[in-house]
């Protein structure tokens, strides 16, 4: 092989390596960017899940109202009734794969439960809530739990 041919082969090889390195760099950069977009979406979903703890007690299905005027508490008897009617498509679309539980005094009400068949873990958030019991006309401190199957 002549010296000139060898030089050309060498240069060609260098260019090939540079292109491969650039391609690897590009693939890594692309993956990183895609991951960062996915992370933003996951973070938003996580924030939405955490917001559920304030959204759930204000739903018309649970909130205590007098003549349509919201009182800022959970109505214990609406919550009890909701536990019986929540197993339908509408609420499955609204809440997804979650479990919502209300604990007040000695009572534990599972308001909603839709298990993900192959869940690997549970994310849980809890919050104290005011619960009105219309039977004895008293307010109690309860705990609302929202669990997400992941």
């Amino acid at each position: 092989m002549k010296k000139g041919q060898l030089q050309i082969q060498e240069t060609g090889f260098v260019i090939f390596i540079v292109v491969v390195i650039l391609l690897i760099g590009f693939v890594l950069f692309y993956q990183f960017q895609i991951r960062s977009i996915e992370n933003l979406n996951e973070k938003y979903q996580e924030d939405k899940f955490e917001d559920m703890i304030s959204f759930v007690p204000s739903m018309p299905e649970l909130s205590y109202s007098v003549r349509g005027d919201q009182k800022g508490s959970i109505d214990f008897y609406k919550a009890r009734a909701f536990a019986d009617v929540s197993d339908n498509e509408y609420y499955k679309n609204l809440f997804g794969y979650k479990k919502i539980t209300l604990k007040v005094s000695a009572d534990t009400l599972v308001l909603y439960d839709n298990k993900l068949s192959s869940y690997t873990g549970i994310r849980k958030i809890t919050s104290p809530v005011s619960v009105y019991n219309a039977w004895d006309e008293k307010y109690y401190v309860g705990v609302l739990e929202v669990e997400r199957y992941v």
Partner: protein
């Protein structure tokens, strides 16, 4: 001399091929980079839209969404909101919107009460859309936000008739007759109970979206009805009105529900809603 000439020629070919390779790589990189940036922007828009919808559900209101973003197309299939056929979000709200429309959007939220609160529905429509109304009641017009653009029949994009209507291929035409909503161009009919929420819903949404949002709303109303019936049953022994209000709830008799709920309150009994 001949060999030297061949060498120079080969060098040029080599330089052109190597240059072309680099050029293709950087062109490809630039295109993908622009796509990624657009994808990021789409994600930002869809998250902002979802937050804006959730915010609108807090209280009945009118607002504009998307003026700060570059041109974007929103698609809705009753489960997901897509921006520019790319980023999406699962929506948990009841929304009336065209299945595909361009931003920016007018957003109006309104409580749906039967007479208890069922949900706060959200209407979305292109900010520039102009509407024409024919044969509408004063009460209907009073409810509409002042910001809704109303114009003559010839200049409008959406024609709304209470009564008969003719198809018009260049405009959206909706007609309300008795208990029916008619998408005139598509020749699709839907039954409705006379509630204005469904009239507005039809104005702002395509038939498929209207149908599923209407079904969601009715499903939630029926769940709440069951819930209030159960609540009344728990307290059944305390006051006579509970038995009557169960009947009124079952019949969707709004006036009776209101008066019996007031009667419960006046008699010192627990109200239903």
């Amino acid at each position: 001399m001949e060999k030297r000439g061949q060498g120079i020629q080969f060098n040029w070919i080599f330089v052109i091929v190597a240059g072309a390779l680099f050029l293709i790589f950087f062109a490809f990189f630039s295109v993908r980079y622009i796509d990624l940036e657009q994808s990021k922007e789409n994600g930002k828009i869809v998250r902002a839209l979802d937050s804006s919808i959730l915010g609108a559900k807090g209280i009945s209101q009118y607002k504009v969404f998307g003026e700060d973003f570059s041109d974007f197309v929103l698609e809705y299939n009753c489960e997901r909101l897509y921006i520019n056929e790319d980023q999406f979000i699962e929506s948990s709200s009841i929304i009336f919107v065209e299945d595909k429309s361009e931003g920016p959007f007018s957003m109006w939220s309104q409580d749906y009460e039967k007479p208890y609160l069922v949900d706060t529905v959200v209407y979305l429509w292109n900010f520039d859309l102009k509407f024409y109304f024919s044969g509408v009641s004063e009460e209907f017009m009073d409810e509409i936000p002042n910001e809704l653009k109303i114009t003559s029949e010839g200049n409008a994009d959406v024609l709304v008739y209470f009564g008969g209507a003719e198809p018009n291929p260049n405009k959206k035409v909706i007609a309300f007759n008795g208990n029916q909503i008619w998408y005139v161009n598509e020749d699709k009919y839907f039954n409705y109970n006379g509630d204005n929420v469904f009239v507005y819903g039809a104005m702002f949404s395509s038939p498929d979206v209207f149908e599923c949002s209407k079904n969601y709303l009715e499903e939630r109303k029926n769940s709440l009805k069951e819930l209030y019936i159960k609540k009344a049953q728990y307290f059944g022994s305390k006051c006579a009105e509970y038995g009557q209000i169960i009947g009124a709830l079952r019949d969707d008799n709004i006036n009776s529900i209101i008066s019996l709920n007031e009667a419960l309150d006046n008699h010192g009994c627990e109200v239903i809603y």
